[in-house]
């Protein structure tokens, strides 16, 4: 095989950028699964909802897709709080998280996907923005802005949430809630309220992740499913509960996927994350970077 160095370097660099985007997609699950121990497998479906919000804002109102998602952040936050409330009353309190709680999120995933099909059909949709198209050229490396912007948005999300979690009272309580709920109550904090807020935040990240998703690639309602394996592979590989590990895992996966599609063809890329997930689960389930 003719492996040129340029091709390799470009594949690695754009893999890094892709990995940054994967961090944006995964951070919501890093919160819900990693910190709250709630296995929200419907997260990718809500990311896709974010993509369509960005699409509507962009196509019908001419707004920048990221701005459209930012405007809708409060709505996603509220939706997340509502979903958590239902989950808490119907499953957490009955201690029925595994069978029916998981099926609940699976049902939400399906309902959301079918609703999008009903509303928008199965055609691919995309957005317009000045940074979609041009690239930043640095010597032999080409950095397409449509990857660079999502990367920057993702890093802003990671840093912003990390600061919130470590510096605010609510943030610290979110970190504590999975460790010991009774102890948290003894700090005068209601675990249900803290989880509701955290779950709302996790949903809010889906709005932004959706906007960057539709910047990177055109979307149709079923592509959310491809991201389930990816997201959970990243979260498990990164070791649950740490953003740092999650970002490193996301970038690793981005690079491996990019090399795979450069040298074997893009149709093989979705299989990479499953391989990574299975190997991690089989070899070191606490994650490569877990505590």
């Amino acid at each position: 095989m003719d492996v040129s160095l340029d091709l390799l370097i470009n594949a690695i660099v754009s893999g890094l950028l892709l990995g940054g985007f994967y961090a944006a997609v995964s951070i919501g699950v890093a919160i819900s699964f990693g910190m709250l121990d709630i296995v929200n497998i419907a997260h990718p479906a809500f990311i896709l909802l974010g993509s369509y919000v960005a699409y509507i804002g962009n196509t019908y109102f001419g707004i920048d897709p990221i701005l459209a998602a930012v405007i809708l952040l409060p709505a996603f936050y509220a939706l997340g709080m509502a979903v958590y409330q239902v989950y808490h009353v119907a499953f957490e309190r009955r201690d029925d998280q595994s069978l029916r709680g998981l099926s609940f999120f699976f049902g939400l995933l399906f309902i959301s996907e079918v609703s999008l099909v009903l509303a928008f059909g199965v055609d691919y949709r995309s957005v317009q923005a000045p940074y979609i198209g041009p690239s930043l050229d640095l010597l032999v490396i080409q950095l397409p802005w449509r990857l660079l912007v999502p990367f920057l948005v993702a890093m802003a999300m990671v840093v912003g949430l990390q600061i919130f979690l470590s510096r605010s009272f609510i943030g610290r309580a979110i970190q504590a809630v999975a460790q010991d709920q009774l102890a948290l109550r003894l700090m005068a904090a209601s675990p249900v309220r803290i989880k509701r807020i955290a779950f709302g935040l996790s949903f809010a990240t889906a709005a932004l992740a959706g906007a960057v998703l539709i910047i990177i690639q055109p979307v149709e309602p079923s592509i959310g499913r491809e991201y389930i394996g990816r997201i959970f592979a990243i979260c498990v590989l990164g070791g649950l509960g740490s953003f740092g590990g999650m970002v490193i895992a996301a970038m690793t996966l981005g690079i491996v996927e990019n090399l795979t599609s450069t040298f074997f063809g893009p149709s093989w890329a979705p299989a990479v994350s499953f391989g990574v997930l299975l190997i991690t689960l089989a070899v070191r389930p606490s994650g490569i970077l877990g505590r």
Partner: protein
């Protein structure tokens, strides 16, 4: 393994029919349904009936793992499609092979994949198994999309023979009969499991796996038996599909509808016993068929999703559970 399978319930504790009369009753019911189809004489009845019976098999297969042990398999489409694509491969290699043998091959393939996935992930908490099965569906689809021999992304055509091999009449009647036969096998197995020590072992895992492990239940072995059986039956349910649809491509073979139906039907009907998936498949399958004909096929899949979410929230024991409580 075999001795566990066959052992009857201790001292006849389980109420109702014995195993042999139950199987006879199932065969009589299947024959009656088939006879009724013949009487209607309309080929639509066979097409619609096939779908409902296919979901009885799929739902019961899912329930052997999900309902009995509490481990949720979201990768139904992977196992179902492995069965379907095994048939496509066999059709291309040995077209003369009778359908029941193709079903056995499809079931063995899917069962092996179930065993492998379970072996890698079942030592961990149940959610990891569920996540792995979700990803499995994507990866099997990727493999098949990249496999030109079975048509790749373009799909494959399978010629449906004109006539039924045994009974005469349309081949569709034969497909329906085969699926009914499969339903008898799967239901008899599910009920036999419920009444055997294997079933008690499964229930112990579902109720408190740590306690089961501590009291000497070989949990990993039992979970692997359940995943293999469950996956194998799903593959069997998928094996006749190419003859039913005559054209199979990855996006239809891996349609999320199969997974949602296979999970929704037991949850709606009730996951505690063999009866739940049957009730769920007949009601939900029938309702879907009705909505598909009267309104639209896009709405009907939405209805299943909404029903499933509604039931897990409001009626966690399913329809069968509602009736048991009232008694």
């Amino acid at each position: 393994m075999a001795s566990l399978d066959a052992r009857p319930a201790v001292g006849g504790v389980a109420p109702g029919l014995g195993s042999v009369p139950f199987i006879l009753a199932l065969i009589v019911a299947a024959a009656a349904i088939f006879g009724a189809g013949k009487l209607i004489g309309n080929s639509y009845a066979f097409f619609a009936g096939y779908v409902v019976v296919q979901y009885i098999v799929l739902g019961t297969a899912w329930n052997i793992l999900g309902g009995y042990t509490g481990y949720v398999n979201f990768g139904v489409t992977a196992f179902f499609a492995i069965g379907a694509y095994s048939t496509v491969v066999l059709y291309k290699l040995v077209p003369a092979l009778p359908l029941p043998l193709m079903i056995v091959v499809g079931g063995v393939m899917a069962g092996l994949v179930g065993l492998g996935t379970g072996y890698l992930t079942l030592r961990l908490r149940g959610v990891y198994f569920s996540i792995a099965t979700l990803a499995l569906a994507v990866v099997v689809q990727t493999l098949i999309t990249n496999w030109d021999f079975v048509g790749g992304a373009r799909g494959a055509y399978v010629l449906r023979p004109r006539n039924s091999p045994i009974l005469g009449g349309e081949y569709m009647q034969y497909l329906f009969m085969v699926m009914l036969g499969l339903a008898v096998v799967v239901l008899a197995t599910a009920r036999a499991i419920e009444r055997s020590t294997l079933g008690y072992g499964f229930a112990a895992i579902r109720d408190d796996e740590a306690a089961a492990e501590a009291s000497g239940v070989p949990t990993l072995k039992l979970k692997l038996i359940a995943t293999t059986l469950s996956g194998g039956f799903m593959g069997m349910a998928g094996a006749p599909l190419p003859y039913y649809v005559t054209y199979l491509d990855p996006s239809s073979g891996f349609s999320l509808n199969y997974a949602v139906n296979a999970i929704a039907m037991p949850l709606i009907g009730g996951t505690g016993s063999w009866l739940g998936p049957v009730v769920g498949a007949i009601l939900v399958g029938g309702l879907q068929e009705y909505i598909r004909v009267t309104i639209s096929s896009a709405i009907n899949v939405l209805v299943v999703g909404v029903l499933m979410v509604g039931f897990v929230i409001a009626a966690p024991q399913g329809i069968v559970g509602l009736f048991q409580r009232k008694r």
